[in-house]
Structure formats: structure tokens, C-alpha cells
């Protein structure tokens, strides 16, 4: 396991380093002078210069980067130049909403993804196969925002079953909270679930061709047990990795989904921050999204290595 980690860690470290550099450079690439922004339009040159020194903007870029990076590691996420509040506080205020959405969506994604995948991998002929294949293809081709809008049109407008916008914390009012959460979470989960289902289906089809399945059949192992302990057992690795990879896209989808369903989460905050040129906030959200995506990917690979000795010994 240690050897496996030693092999994977350099590329993860490289990815995190590259992302942190991109996030660090974002406000600087955006143009505009933060010192001027803080000082206001009618500040004198000396005042702007004083603020620049205070912010450390007169240092060379590598020094600024290291300073910023060590700040992050100490838990100092910087200060918004627009609202003049610590970015950490701003994020904490919105974190709950996005966490509710992301967790519900992840649970739905895993449930639908693995369920559909196993179904599609087991039903091999007739109308059932055709129906499952088509359903997965349609879900796969429709991204979260379009899925979300279609859900609104169908369940919110046509059948009037679910409320279409707003949010109530699920902790405060579980019923209303959940009814508001269901559609956005489904919208986020379904496209990613279809992706997972497709991978599991393909993997199950592939394993059916393996000799050990033929052998089990020849030995007279009952069909259900072949599916459960031979085919499924060997397909779970794919399911784990596929889930790990999709979490990142799922989180990013929250940006649009929160806007569509009027939820006050981190995604909406990021969009508002871009519009109001609050780059200190955006850079942290971008960095956070990529770091979470990379780490879940790594975590899923570790889990896979734990499940399947062939991977870690290779």
C-alpha cells in the first residue's frame, strides 16, 4: 500500500501545486489594482502606495505566492477586498447549503449509478435492455442544468408536485427542506449516475467473458451466485473509481444548479463574486473545488487498491 501511495502521490502533489499557482494568479491576471480598489477613486498616490505595501503587493510574485500559500496552510484564506470580511467567514456562512446539496446529490448519484449499472449489466435482452440502455443514454447526454430545468418544467409546473426555488435548512424543517432539496440534488446526480452506470455495465459485460465465469458455470454454481460473487464483486472497483472521479463534476454543477433553484450556496457566491470582481473569494472557491475533486479521486484510488490487491502490487 505504501509503495502504491508513493507512486500516486507525486502526481497528486503536482496537481495541487499547479492548481494553487493558478488560483494565486487569478486575481493578478484579472487586471485592476487591488490597492487602488481599496483606497477608492480619489485616493492620493501615496495612500495607494501605502496600502500596496501593507498588502505586500510590492514584494516579488514568488514571495507573495509563498506568503499566500503559508497563509492558506495556517487557515488564513485572505480577506475579501469588496466586503472587507475574511473569506473563511463568507465561505462558512454558505457552506451548509452547498454541503446539504452535495451530500444529498452524492447519495442519489451512488444509489442511482450503482443500481442502474447493475440492472443494465444484468438485463441482457428484450425490451428491458432497450429501455435501460435508452434511459442511460438520455441521462448521460443531458447535463445537470438542462436536467434541472426539465425537472422544474415537469414536476414543478406541469404536475405541481415540488416547490421550484428557495431553500430551508434540512436541519430546521426536514420536510420542506427535503422537498426543496430533491430536485436540485436529482439534477446534479442523474447525469453523473448515468456515467457510473454505463461504466459498471461495460465492466460487467466484460467480466462475463472471462474464463473464471465459464468455469463457475461449468462447475454448476447457481446463476444468481455467479452474478453476485463473481461478476459484481469484480465490477465494484470500477464503481468506486467512477464515483470518485464524478464527485468533482458534481460539485462544479452546483454552480449552475444553485443559480437555477435560487439556493444561497457557495456556487452562487462564486458567481456573484466574479460579477462583483471579488477575486479573493473566487480564488478560494476555485482552489477548494479542484482540491476536493483531486482528493476524492485519490481517496477512491486508495479504496480501490485496498479492495483489489492486483492494483497495489502492479
Amino acid at each position: 500500500m505504501l509503495a502504491f501511495l508513493a507512486r500516486r502521490l507525486p502526481s497528486v502533489a503536482f496537481m495541487l501545486l499547479a492548481t494553487s499557482i493558478i488560483a494565486f494568479l487569478l486575481p493578478r491576471l484579472a487586471g485592476g489594482d487591488p490597492a487602488q480598489t481599496i483606497a477608492g477613486a480619489d485616493a492620493t498616490v501615496d495612500q495607494v502606495e501605502a496600502i500596496r505595501q501593507q498588502l505586500g503587493l510590492d514584494q516579488p510574485l514568488p514571495a507573495q505566492y509563498l506568503d499566500w500559500l503559508f497563509g492558506l496552510l495556517r487557515g488564513d484564506l485572505g480577506t475579501s477586498l469588496i466586503t472587507n470580511r475574511p473569506v473563511g467567514q463568507l465561505i462558512l456562512a454558505r457552506l451548509g447549503s452547498t454541503l446539504e446539496l452535495a451530500l444529498t446529490a452524492s447519495v442519489l448519484m451512488i444509489a442511482f449509478g450503482i443500481g442502474l449499472g447493475i440492472l443494465a449489466g444484468s438485463v441482457r435482452k428484450g425490451a428491458g435492455r432497450f429501455g435501460l440502455d435508452s434511459a442511460i443514454s438520455v441521462l448521460l447526454a443531458t447535463p445537470p442544468h438542462v436536467t434541472g430545468l426539465i425537472l422544474i418544467l415537469v414536476f414543478g409546473i406541469t404536475f405541481n408536485m415540488l416547490p421550484i426555488s428557495g431553500e430551508v435548512s434540512i436541519l430546521r424543517d426536514p420536510v420542506t427542506g427535503f422537498s426543496l432539496l430533491l430536485m436540485p440534488a436529482l439534477a446534479l446526480a442523474l447525469p453523473q449516475a448515468a456515467m457510473i452506470a454505463r461504466l459498471i455495465q461495460a465492466r460487467m459485460m466484460q467480466i462475463r467473458q472471462e474464463e473464471f465465469v465459464d468455469f463457475a458455470r461449468a462447475k454448476g454454481v447457481p446463476r444468481s451466485q455467479i452474478v453476485l460473487s463473481h461478476i459484481l464483486r469484480n465490477s465494484m472497483g470500477t464503481a468506486v473509481v467512477a464515483t470518485g472521479i464524478r464527485i468533482g463534476e458534481l460539485l462544479a454543477g452546483a454552480v449552475v444548479i444553485e443559480a437555477i433553484f435560487a439556493r444561497n450556496g457557495l456556487g452562487l457566491m462564486a458567481v456573484d463574486a466574479v460579477t462583483s470582481r471579488d477575486y479573493q473569494v473566487v480564488q478560494i472557491v476555485v482552489l477548494g473545488a479542484v482540491v476536493i475533486a483531486v482528493l476524492t479521486h485519490l481517496f477512491s484510488e486508495i479504496l480501490l487498491a485496498a479492495l483489489d490487491p492486483r492494483i497495489r502490487l502492479e
Binding site: 499547479a18 492548481t19 447526454a141 442544468h145 422544474i152 418544467l153 463534476e249 466574479v274
Partner: protein, 291 residues
């Protein structure tokens, strides 16, 4: 007889043969339907200014009329015909992907194949692709918008950067599987230059999946425009694009559901057309490989 006197066989018309193959692929039923649908949508988008002169911004007092023969999708908050605006919006979506996806396809393929010329360069591009793939599409879009500001150009750049690794990975895959084949070794022994081996020998073997990917990237691009414009970071109003229409439409979804449904119908039609084309190309590619 020295090497220079050996008669050089005439160059085989690789591309012409290939073009004929792709045309045959598109002549399959799903290819024909896909191409027909796509051409219909493009023609509608191009002819919109002729058929509905001035209709895109023509306001009237009749806001939120329900769908009728005169206004198939009804009218919006300013009494403008939603169907006409949807047709105009196709111009933005289609022009975006027609510009950006081919750029990404050519650049990405060359980056992926560059390993044939210089191993270091090839590896470098792979690391670059890793970084890009680490950025979910919308996060990437946000970064680009910050750097160059919202609008058509930043959408093009986003779609190009987002699609690069997909082409790069495909080309790289073809390179790795073809590199050790005998015909490549033969070409190398004969002293064919590395660049020529890359473009003339390996590239044709990488093209099939790349054309399928072009079609799929077009869909992704169209959806990226919609996503960024819905949150207000894409095309800026008053230019109608499928995303900006949805941005406003969703606010009026109770009074005028067609304001949301109309652009979605267009999005799905475009996606369907490109999907059918991708399917047809893919079927042909599989047939050629004898699967």
C-alpha cells in the same frame, strides 16, 4: 541499384479514400437524420434575419401570450416572439462550437501526437492535460471569465481549453498503440522524418475516434455556453443565446413555461443531431476495425 533509383510508388490518396468513408458513414440512417436535423437548424439560424426581419427585438404590448400559430412558443415579458428569439439564439450556440471545437481538435491532436517528435514535449502536454482535467468545466469557465471578461471570446477559449485534453488523450492513445507497429518501424528505418511519421503515418490511424469526439465536443460546448450564460457569466444580454434566454426564462417559469421549454427544446435538438452524427461515425469506425 541504389536507394535513390528505386521507383517511388505514387502516393496513395489517403484523404480521398477517408473522405469517402466518412460520407458513407453519414449516409447511414442515423447519420442522415442527424445531418438533416443539423442542417435544418443551421439554415434556420442563418435565414432568421431574412424570414423574421427585425423580429428578434420587436416588442409589443402582448407580453406572455400563450403559444399560438402566430407565436409557436408564445411571447416573453416584452412581448417578443420566443420562437424567433430561440432561432436567433441558435446562431450564437452554433457559431461558438463551429469556431472552437475544430481549433481544439487540431491543437489537441497535434499536442497528443507530439510525443512522436519529442518525448519530453509529449510528456509535458500530458501533464498539462492532467491539470485541465482536474478543473471541472464550470470552474474552468469561471477562471477564463475572470481573466478575459464575460462574452463570446471567453466562451470560445473555455470550450477550446476544456476540449483539448479529450483530443490530446485520443491522439496519444493512437500514438502509443501505433508507435511500435511494423509500418512505423519500416518508415523509421527508411529515414522518414519524425514529423512526417507523426502526420502521415500515425495521424490517419487516429482520425476515426477524433471525428467522433468532434461531434461530442460540439454538444459539450453548446451545453457549456448554456450553463455559463444561465448564471450570467456567458453571452451578455440583449444578444439572445440559448443560455441567456434560459437565464431570464426561468424567472418567469410560472407565467410562461415555454420561455424555459423553448430554449431547452433547441438545446436538445442540437444535442440529438450531433449525437446521431457521432453514432453514425462511430458505427463506421467499428465496422472498419471489424468489430
Amino acid at each position: 541499384m541504389t536507394m535513390s533509383q528505386t521507383p517511388v510508388p505514387a502516393r496513395r490518396p489517403v484523404l480521398n479514400e477517408g473522405v469517402a468513408r466518412y460520407l458513407r458513414a453519414l449516409a447511414q440512417p442515423q447519420g442522415l437524420v442527424g445531418c438533416g436535423l443539423l442542417l435544418l437548424l443551421i439554415a434556420a439560424a442563418l435565414l432568421a434575419p431574412v424570414v423574421f426581419p427585425g423580429g428578434v427585438d420587436q416588442q409589443s404590448r402582448d407580453s406572455f401570450l400563450p403559444p399560438s400559430p402566430a407565436h409557436p412558443f408564445g411571447t416573453d415579458e416584452l412581448g417578443r416572439d420566443i420562437f424567433v428569439r430561440c432561432i436567433y439564439a441558435l446562431q450564437v450556440s452554433v457559431s461558438l462550437v463551429i469556431v472552437s471545437v475544430p481549433i481544439a481538435a487540431v491543437a489537441g491532436t497535434l499536442m497528443g501526437l507530439s510525443g512522436a517528435v519529442s518525448r519530453l514535449l509529449g510528456e509535458g502536454f500530458q501533464r498539462l492535460f492532467d491539470i485541465i482535467l482536474g478543473f471541472p468545466s464550470l470552474v474552468l469557465g469561471i477562471c477564463i471569465v475572470i481573466i478575459i471578461g464575460p462574452g463570446w471570446l471567453s466562451l470560445v477559449v473555455t470550450i477550446v481549453i476544456f476540449s483539448l485534453p479529450q483530443f490530446g488523450r485520443l491522439a496519444r492513445g493512437a500514438l502509443l498503440s501505433e508507435e511500435g507497429r511494423e509500418y512505423v518501424l519500416a518508415a523509421r528505418v527508411l529515414g522518414v522524418s519524425k514529423g512526417k511519421i507523426m502526420l502521415r503515418h500515425i495521424l490517419p490511424n487516429a482520425l476515426d475516434p477524433i471525428f467522433v469526439q468532434v461531434s461530442l465536443s460540439m454538444i459539450a460546448g453548446i451545453f457549456i455556453e448554456a450553463a455559463l450564460s444561465i448564471v450570467g457569466l456567458g453571452i451578455q444580454p440583449p444578444t439572445p443565446s440559448l443560455g441567456t434566454l434560459l437565464n431570464v426564462g426561468i424567472r418567469y417559469v410560472y407565467v410562461q413555461p415555454m420561455y424555459t421549454a423553448g430554449p431547452i427544446i433547441m438545446l436538445l435538438l442540437l444535442a440529438l443531431a450531433f449525437n446521431l452524427i457521432a453514432d453514425a461515425l462511430n458505427a463506421q469506425a467499428l465496422k472498419t476495425r471489424g468489430e
